[in-house]
């Protein structure tokens, strides 16, 4: 029996999973159109590589990854591209994003695929490349490109954690996937394990999913997978958070801002492992996923839905009931309200809850915080949410950061238990976005200041260089004059090869000026020139005497020097 660890806090909201987990996964019918956003993952948007009017086949690349952290987007079925334009996507902001609209032709005609029987023969680089080209991203909600996470050196990663906890209420897509496709999940896990050189694989599943646990255990036994264990973990929200599950299974706490790989662990959702296997083993890109349709519907169940399926068309297949006020994508704890019921299913869509007043009654008005610290008691990050609330409310953002605002995983447990009905997570989201905005404007200001300072220093440098050049020129001119008095050639030669052209030019001008001056001076005869032969003889006589005197003086100095 494996020792399990606990994380602090957590809550036990009604799970509401039994509504949707009794029927097998159903293939969703082909929708009238597919609206496929090019930005469904963490990182930069995919680049559209098709044109409106073009016919595409199922699985054909329509958006190519752009940059290291990016992912590919494919046509989920065969049909015609009807538009590439801005549309409202599955994001609560309602801000339109670039989407490719595909009208299915009903043929569902696959592109040529090359299933791979022996992936072990492929290099790790090739495997990663294929995952990237297949658009495999984290399906637990983070949608982080998987190829980027599957990078490791030998002996660095001990444990690969497969997350099948599914702690959010209502959601059962991973539960059903594990029940029905356990073998393929494990094959994906083997690929991941190989890429990470991980020693062991731990598959964490909350103990409220006994069927999934049994199916996965059976698959492990059947596949004779070494050092791979299915671990039933206690049902507690947010036990399916990556950090929490890693903690429960290994005892390791991955702090905010720390990569789990540096602590020897990497974590993937079970659905991601499944997609990785489909991509490598079957050469099938990520064009569909399991989506739980639940809430205000007559027949809650899981569908395998094509990416881009309009949500209302999908919900229509689960006998929607009247009174639905909107769709929540994800669970009731961390899900987001959709800006429209027509937005397309994306890779992150694990669940669509048709919300209605009877399911999610309006909260009572918020009362003041009474510092009861029920929030702190349930916080899995061991924060003091009440402090963060005060600091966020007062926009005391530095303090909020000091009190570890960015360690908050926004699980919503604090808001859930707050007796004053304070939407705490909203305050933290607000504070975080304020800090990001401040950082961005600070960055912009810094960049502007740097530009300004650079310009100032450039102007300063240019001035200084000018002055230095001038000084150098003057010095050079003086030296040149001095040299020219003895050996004019030397001056010219010294100024030639190593001096910059500007300097040489200046020097030449200077020399020319000097020369002209000398010529002008030469016009006036000096008293030592134009002498008569007699005068010259006298001078020679005087010079001879001077030389003699110099000789004598020299000897005297010589003797003195020895005395």
């Amino acid at each position: 029996m494996r020792t399990l660890y606990q994380f602090h806090g957590g809550i036990h909201p009604p799970t509401n999973k039994t509504q949707s987990n009794h029927t097998p996964i159903k293939q969703a019918s082909l929708p009238s159109k597919l609206v496929i956003p090019l930005h469904q993952h963490v990182g930069s948007s995919a680049k559209p590589i098709v044109e409106a009017g073009q016919r595409v086949l199922k699985g054909e690349l329509i958006g190519a990854p752009d940059g290291h952290l990016s992912s590919a987007v494919h046509a989920p079925t065969s049909g015609t591209i009807s538009a590439i334009d801005m549309q409202i996507v599955a994001h609560p902001s309602g801000i339109p994003d670039l989407c490719i609209t595909l009208i299915p032709d009903g043929l569902d005609e696959w592109i040529h695929r090359e299933p791979c029987d022996d992936w072990c023969a492929l290099s790790h680089t090739e495997l990663r490349h294929r995952l990237r080209q297949a658009g495999v991203v984290g399906l637990g909600g983070a949608v982080f490109p998987s190829d980027v996470k599957l990078y490791s050196h030998k002996h660095k990663i001990k444990t690969l954690v497969l997350n099948g906890a599914e702690c959010e209420p209502y959601i059962t897509c991973d539960d059903l996937l594990m029940r029905e496709r356990a073998t393929e999940i494990l094959q994906g896990a083997q690929i991941m394990r190989a890429l990470l050189y991980a020693e062991e694989v731990l598959i964490g599943i909350e103990d409220n999913k006994p069927e999934a646990i049994a199916a996965m255990r059976a698959a492990v036994t059947e596949g004779c997978h070494e050092r791979m264990e299915v671990v039933a973990v206690p049902t507690i929200y947010p036990g399916g958070g990556a950090k929490q599950l890693i903690r429960v299974l290994t005892g390791i706490e991955v702090a905010a801002g720390v990569r789990s790989t540096n602590l020897g662990v990497q974590c993937f959702n079970v659905a991601t492992a499944y997609s990785a296997w489909r991509a490598i083993g079957h050469s099938e890109p990520l064009i569909s996923r399991i989506v739980t349709i639940t809430g205000n519907v007559g027949h809650p169940q899981n569908f395998e839905a094509l990416i881009g399926t309009p949500m209302d068309e999908l919900v229509a297949q689960a006998q929607p009931l009247p009174g639905t006020t909107g769709y929540i994508m994800g669970g009731p704890m961390m899900g987001v309200l959709m800006p429209s019921m027509q937005v397309g299913v994306i890779k992150a869509t694990n669940c669509i809850i048709a919300a209605a007043k009877n399911l999610f009654p309006a909260p009572a008005p918020a009362l003041p915080c009474i510092r009861c610290t029920r929030c702190a008691e349930v916080c899995p990050s061991e924060l003091q949410p009440q402090e963060l609330y005060w600091f966020s409310k007062a926009k005391n953002l530095d303090k909020a950061e000091d009190y570890h605002l960015f360690d908050c995983i926004e699980c919503g447990a604090c808001s859930y238990v707050c007796p004053s009905n304070i939407p705490l997570v909203q305050y933290y989201r607000f504070a975080k976005s304020e800090i990001w905005a401040q950082e961005a404007s600070q960055k912009a200001a810094d960049a502007a200041r740097e530009r300004h300072e650079f310009r100032e220093s450039r102007i300063e440098r240019e001035k200084r260089e000018k002055a230095e050049k001038l000084a150098a020129k003057e010095k050079a001119a003086i030296e040149a004059r001095a040299l020219r008095a003895e050996t004019p050639q030397a001056v010219v030669s010294s100024a030639r090869p190593d001096a910059d052209p500007e300097n040489t030019m200046q020097l030449k001008i200077q020399l020319a000026i000097d020369h002209a001056k000398e010529q002008a001076a030469a016009i006036k005869p000096k008293n030592t020139e134009q002498l008569t032969p007699q005068q010259l003889a006298e001078i020679a006589d005087i010079e001879a005497r001077r030389a003699r005197v110099r000789e004598i003086a020299k000897d005297v100095t010589h003797i003195d020097g020895h005395s």
């Binding site: 602090h8 704890m333 309200l337 008005p365 009474i370």
Partner: protein, 344 residues
């Protein structure tokens, strides 16, 4: 629709329900109070409750705040009950009214209302009364069977509202000093602890009757911990420290320092440990902070009781420690996930 942002569900426990639990937990103590001292306490409780709700409504109206949601939160009622339980039941009606009005208006609403008051409002009300009207605050009822005479409920009402006693009965005949007060006075008169405790006003553990009321509050307090309405930190640290300090003095000099159990079951120790110090608004939020806060309050309580000018020190200890709460919180912030000692 619960709102536009997650989480879309909440646990159905409100401030109002929490406070209701606390009020319910006071009932065993109050029932025993009535049993031993008669129903006069119910009059003070009612008076205080009416005053608290009235003053709260008035303060909210003045501030243009919504009245109904706040009145329904039961916090004003709790303040009223805690104050009423700290005042002698035979105190004149206006004493209860003045104390409660002060507690709600000045120490709660002028500081920003629910959640923003740095001091426990009930204890502020008590402090104001004991300083302003010390004589009225000493007229505690003698438990049944101890006094020479006892008043009927009607006669008690007459006294509370009109200050009129039946002919021939003097106030001293029906009231007494508290067991803690008597102890203090007698010790000053060079009494020996053992002799003093032989006086009829003392029972098995502490004061006759009042020890049972304290036991009632203990019962209610245990209920609150069991219901996870309050955490164990403050009551345990408070009672534990009070026991330890009192025990230490008692061991050194049993003739002058009563047993630690006497301290636990006297005065406002039990009420304070479970119902007053645990007021979330005015106590620290961190577990370590709560231990420091309650232990310090216990130490102060003991020092005031044993060496100070007042017979009981609960109220002042609470208020003094209330001042320290922001500091305690700031210095006792726990380490967060993944950032504890020995972790990267």
């Amino acid at each position: 629709m619960s709102g536009f942002f997650s989480p879309f569900i909440t646990k159905p426990v409100s401030v109002s329900q929490i406070m209701l639990h606390v009020l319910l937990a006071l009932i065993p103590g109050i029932a025993l109070y009535v049993w031993f001292f008669g129903p006069a306490i119910l009059v003070s409780l009612t008076l205080a409750s009416i005053t608290a709700l009235g003053v709260e409504a008035l303060m909210l109206k003045i501030q243009n705040k919504q009245i109904a949601p706040t009145l329904k939160d039961n916090t004003a009622l709790l303040t009223a009950w805690l104050l009423a339980l700290s005042i002698p039941p035979l105190a004149p009606w206006w004493l209860v009214v003045v104390g409660t009005a002060f507690a709600i208006s000045i120490s709660k609403h002028l500081y920003g209302g629910l959640g923003n008051n740095p001091f426990n409002p009930a204890m502020i009300g008590y402090a104001v009364l004991i300083i302003s009207f010390p004589v009225h605050m000493t007229h505690w009822l003698t438990p049944h069977g101890l006094g020479d005479v006892s008043l009927s409920f009607l006669e008690q009402l007459n006294y509370i509202f009109q200050g009129v006693l039946p002919d021939g009965i003097k106030l001293d005949a029906i009231t007494m000093a508290t067991p803690l007060d008597t102890l203090k006075t007698q010790l000053h008169l060079n009494g020996h602890v053992q002799e003093i405790l032989d006086m009829p006003i003392y029972g098995r553990l502490a004061g006759q009757g009042s020890e049972w009321v304290a036991a009632g509050f203990l019962l209610g307090g245990v209920y609150l911990i069991a219901q996870r309405i309050i955490s164990w930190h403050i009551p345990l640290a408070y009672l534990g420290t009070l026991f330890a300090v009192a025990g230490l003095f008692h061991l050194i000099d049993p003739a002058h320092y009563v047993t630690p159990v006497f301290h636990l079951f006297s005065g406002a120790a039990m009420l304070g440990a479970f119902f007053i110090l645990t007021d979330p608004v005015t106590s620290p939020t961190t577990p370590r902070g709560r231990l420091i806060f309650a232990a310090s309050a216990a130490l102060l309580t003991y020092l005031i009781r044993a060496f100070g000018g007042f017979p009981d020190g609960m109220a002042f200890a609470t208020l003094l420690m209330n001042i320290c709460v922001p500091l305690i919180d700031a210095y006792t912030q726990p380490k967060v996930f993944g950032k504890k000692k020995g972790q990267s």
